[in-house]
Amino acid sequence: EADIYQTPRYLVIGTGKKITLECSQTMGHDKMYWYQQDPGMELHLIHYSYGVNSTEKGDLSSESTVSRIRTEHFPLTLESARPSHTSQYLCASSELGDLKAGEQYFGPGTRLTVT
């Protein structure tokens, strides 16, 4: 079982609140990712990081921001939550290099509902 953790698992919050979704991994992976997934739909990459102090936006535009101050920690923040942010957020990590060709390890996800 992959050692990647996300908290909280479920979050219901009102419009306008600031939220931070936590993601931590104990595998020492340099690469980390955030995906957004709606029911029955594909995962969309919203942020990724190739190491400490490295963050990039993904394919799907998102109002969220991320930081990578420590290798093991990759939190995602929404400054002002809106109902359109309601979704499942999945964190993942992978090793650098081509050896495993991008095999990613996923956390259990955070189900966010903004009312």
């Binding site: 992959a2 690469k31 990712y33 029955g40 739909m41 594909e42 995962l43 990459l45 990724y48 993904g58 394919d59 999945l90 964190c91 993942a92 992978s94 650098l96 495993k100 060709a101 991008g102 095999e103 990613q104 390890y105 996923f106 956390g107 259990p108 996800g109 189900r111």
Partner: protein, 111 residues
Amino acid sequence: SQKIEQNSEALNIQEGKTATLTCNYTNYSPAYLQWYRQDPGRGPVFLLLIRENEKEKRKERLKVTFDTTLKQSLFHITASQPADSATYLCALVRDGNKLVFGAGTILRVKS
């Protein structure tokens, strides 16, 4: 942009039969293709990876094929069991380790 198509309809099969799931892609020539399993409310779990120069890959009851001419991958589960019921995702590897996912196919195995 890259597009990945998986059967949107659920696949219902009887226990013991072979399940075959399809992944078609366009506008890309991936060096690798991956398959993941996702259970409801959980994150995907990696199953198999196949490289462009490999025609077939096996792992226990799982088999993946990769036809770069047809731009298609087939995922087979032999001797299927009810515990195999889940959503199966196809993903292309691009730009280093970034993945593009299909929406997945729901597999239901009935006993």
